[in-house]
Subunit: 134 residues, 2 copies
């Protein structure tokens, strides 16, 4: 682990995290969580433990690079577990941790909001675009 700068140490000792501060760790965490692949992966994993190939099928449009990268950071942050079964061919299963499940609930709300307010957003866009057409 790299050494903290004096400024970072002072900030960490200040107890409360504030995501509005650019240098605050929680801000960087929020930035990472506010990523579409993270969101989609978390939502997909709500269906239970899944294999890599199934996730790539569920999350249509994700490249293998981004899926791997996303799952790695989620694993590193303690949100998912990665289990390798040394069969031939190898089987890798991803599963939400307790920490991940606590976040999943929030992300799920985001997905639910998107689905239930689609119409309102679409009509707002039409109205906005119509007003610009002058």
């Amino acid at each position: 682990m790299p050494t903290m700068t004096a400024a970072q140490r002072r900030a960490a000792e200040k107890a409360d995290y504030d995501a509005f501060l650019a240098q605050c760790p929680s801000r960087q965490l929020l930035d990472r969580l506010s990523d579409k692949w993270v969101t989609l992966a978390m939502v997909a994993l709500d269906a239970g433990p899944q294999r890599y190939s199934q996730l790539s099928r569920t999350i249509a449009g994700v490249s293998q690079k981004m899926l791997t990268q996303t799952l790695r950071t989620l694993e590193r942050d303690g949100l998912v577990t990665r289990t390798v079964t040394p069969s031939v061919p190898v089987t890798v299963t991803y599963e939400l941790t307790d920490l991940g499940r606590s976040l999943q609930g929030v992300v799920e709300l985001l997905k639910d909001w998107a689905e239930s307010h689609m119409d309102a957003v679409l009509s707002a866009r039409q109205e906005y675009d119509a007003a610009l057409a002058y």
Copy 2:
């Protein structure tokens, strides 16, 4: 019209088989909401109607370009209102709409999660990094 991106091509090919994420309209909306500037702007606006300059101060690290761009799309999607007071110099105030407020609650949870689980994530990272050091 520009060529399709690889993601769009892949998504289009899988469209008919995966109703969950492939081309569901809410997928695009969810992608849009899963943006760090959107998240931060929505959270910031919870404090009430605010002027452009105040928002830029609250959301540390945001460039003028990204703030404007983010607020524009939020306005277009009917999540915020933009009010111009034709004084000199001009005053512009942003405020959440009812639709925006319904989303704000969810996004706020995301920020709260990030701040309250920061320690857990940090220790998970240390553990992960330590395990890799062999």
